[in-house]
């Protein structure tokens, strides 16, 4: 899928990245004594962006709507919490492979079952498996039940005796998360443009045709499911590192719904969209929470309005601004005339504007 976006996409994303990366320089001036709190919020947004991006591989690229993605997020958090020693920090060099390994195994196990299903069945089964782990964790004693598990020490990143990056320092942790997000982004960008990504794109458009062409589509979908799960688990591990605990709420289906919301708010199928979506969602949440105690009403209404009027998200606005939309819509209407009715939820990448 050689989707080329207009230049302004790259410019906007680079400017935003530079703005975020230089936060430690201007944060103090902008927020005063709130700067540390804001840095923490910003770090969490980076983590959520990684989480939302991982879901984009399933929902946007492959067209499989998962309502159980929080399963992997929570799995990463709990792996870190349960595998960390009590009185000394764990080493990042084995913690990261451990989180990736466990989430890959769980992803394979669940993936084999859910990949057999499609559409609404996929939504319901992913939701059910997510809730299965949720109930398992919140009723089991070893995982601390509904209280969750506290993490006493953040893992350390060191070579031999010398510390490479002091993750306890909020600034270095911030850059660590930013680095992880960038790696994740570059990886997904490479993946979606590779041969593998093209096959996924083909499955999204017409799975039967891909099968007729001789592709074992199940295997491709399973691998994509596992990759997406592993990335979400890494995001979950980072979230647990930041706040120092793993909690059943991280596994619950409300988290899955929220991350879907970030995806749609940002614009699915674009890889960069979910990053914008995660930031937008968290900023809105912050504003609403400060405005009223009944903020879920505002959030719910925002979700409803976004679905009704902005189905392609912020990325859609950037790629095809309203003042250029007429031309694009015409081109699209022409294109989708012969397409099957199921193609109604094409990702924004379909807009022909090269």
């Amino acid at each position: 899928m050689l989707h080329r976006y207009p230049k302004r996409v790259a410019i906007i994303m680079l400017v935003l990245t530079a703005l975020v990366a230089t936060f430690p320089l201007w944060g103090e001036a902008a927020f005063g004594n709130q700067a540390n709190f804001m840095l923490e919020k910003l770090t969490f947004m980076l983590i959520l962006a990684l989480f939302a991006m991982s879901l984009d591989l399933l929902v946007g690229v492959l067209g499989l709507v998962s309502l159980g993605h929080a399963l992997f997020f929570g799995l990463g958090a709990y792996t870190l919490a349960l595998a960390s020693p009590d009185f000394s920090p764990a080493s990042m060099w084995w913690m990261l492979p451990l989180v990736m390994g466990i989430s890959a195994c769980v992803g394979l196990l669940i993936g084999v079952l859910v990949i057999r299903t499609k559409g609404i069945f996929f939504i319901m089964t992913t939701l059910a498996f997510g809730q299965m782990l949720y109930y398992f964790v919140s009723t089991s004693r070893f995982a601390g039940g509904t209280d969750g598990v506290f993490i006493m020490f953040r893992p350390s990143l060191a070579i031999g005796e010398s510390t490479l990056l002091d993750l306890d320092n909020p600034y270095s942790f911030f850059y660590f998360c930013l680095g992880m997000l960038l790696i994740g982004y570059l990886f997904l960008r490479w993946l979606t443009r590779s041969y593998f990504g093209q096959v996924l794109d083909g499955i999204h458009d017409n799975e039967h045709r891909m099968q007729a062409l001789g592709y074992a589509t199940g295997g491709y979908k399973l691998i994509a499911f596992v990759i997406s799960g592993v990335m979400a688990a890494i995001a979950g591990m980072l979230a647990a590192m930041q706040y120092g605990f793993a909690n059943p709420a991280q596994l619950g289906w409300h988290t899955s719904g929220e991350v879907l919301m970030m995806l749609i708010l940002g614009g699915m199928g674009t890889i960069f969209g979910p990053i914008l979506g995660a930031f937008a969602y968290e900023i809105l949440l912050y504003l609403y929470e400060h405005a009223t105690t009944h903020w879920p009403i505002l959030m719910g209404l925002t979700i409803i309005v976004a679905v009704l009027v902005l189905p392609r998200g912020i990325a859609g606005l950037i790629i095809a601004p309203p003042w250029q939309r007429k031309r694009i819509m015409n081109a699209e209407a022409h294109e989708t005339e012969n397409a099957p009715a199921t193609a109604s939820a094409q990702p924004v990448t379909q807009s022909k504007e090269d």
């Binding site: 079952l113 009723t139 879907l260 959030m299 719910g300 976004a306």
Partner: protein, 286 residues
């Protein structure tokens, strides 16, 4: 486990299963005919329970409260279908999921504003607030038996409508090929409104008659929703028969699971679902 205890559990499982059927049948009808996945279905169940709690307080009579609450539930279904879902029929499931998820947030918070975050209860209403002797050493709540009877009767009515009426023919045809039904001159628009309102009414009614049996809490809709998803996945989406047997299986599994293997009770239904998916990915009756 002696026989009396076993029988009580069997009755409890049956009663829970039948109640689940009322909720799941609405979910499966709405999906089967309209192609809409309605996450707010559980919230409707919760609203049914709260409505009956509120109206019982005001009117002083449980039965009167139910009579007043049912039209309110139907009206709610009508409004939601006409206002929000109307635009979503042609869109992907993703948008339906998100819109109804947003609706859950709104409805849960509206509930919190009107009725607060406390746990409420409704006392078992007058003619049925006793228990009867089933065998020499087994007593059972009459209200639970009554709920079972009502659910069975409703299941029978649904079966009759779908099998033996003109509306049922349209519904069955709509589940197979919506466009063809429309092409034959049936007003699908009206059919959708009818189905959605009926589905919401069924769920809300389940919440109403369940109110004296359970504690009425803010999160009650969420947990029942997920359970009903499992029911529908096991039975096969869109199949009323599947919803019935799926509900009975899950009702029994939940009741006996919590007695026999308490440590794994919350996971039993998901394990059953995984097993069914392994053998029949589209459900038992699809």
């Amino acid at each position: 486990m002696d026989l009396a205890f076993f029988s009580v559990q069997l009755l409890n499982g049956l009663q829970y299963g039948l109640l689940l059927f009322l909720i799941a049948s609405g979910l499966t009808l709405i999906f089967g005919i309209m192609g809409i996945i309605n996450l707010a279905h559980g919230a409707m169940y919760m609203i049914g329970a709260y409505l009956v709690y509120d109206l019982t307080m005001r009117l002083g009579n449980f039965w009167l409260a139910i009579v007043v609450a049912i039209p309110i539930a139907i009206a709610l279904g009508l409004i939601i279908e006409r206002l929000f879902l109307d635009t979503l029929y042609k869109r992907d499931h993703l948008y339906q999921v998100l819109l109804t998820f947003g609706m859950i947030l709104v409805l849960n918070e509206v509930q919190r504003i009107i009725w607060g975050g406390n746990v409420h209860s409704v006392s078992v209403p007058a003619p049925f607030d006793s228990s009867i002797q089933l065998t020499s050493n087994l007593r059972y709540s009459v209200y639970r038996l009554f709920v079972m009877g009502v659910c069975l009767a409703l299941a029978g009515v649904i079966y009759w409508i779908i099998r033996h009426t003109r509306l049922g023919i349209i519904i069955r045809a709509g589940a197979v090929n919506r466009d063809m039904v429309e092409g034959l001159g049936i007003n699908v628009r009206t059919l959708f409104t009818l189905i959605f309102s009926a589905g919401v009414a069924l769920t809300a009614f389940a919440g109403m008659i369940a109110a004296p049996l359970t504690s009425i809490t803010p999160g009650m809709g969420d947990s029942i929703l997920i359970t009903c998803f499992v029911v529908v996945v096991i039975g096969g989406i869109g199949s009323i028969k599947g919803a019935f047997w799926g509900a009975i299986i899950i009702g029994m599994a939940t009741t006996f699971g919590s007695v026999l293997i308490p440590s794994l009770a919350s996971m039993v239904i998901y394990l059953i679902m995984a097993a069914v998916l392994l053998v029949k990915p589209r459900g038992l009756f699809a």
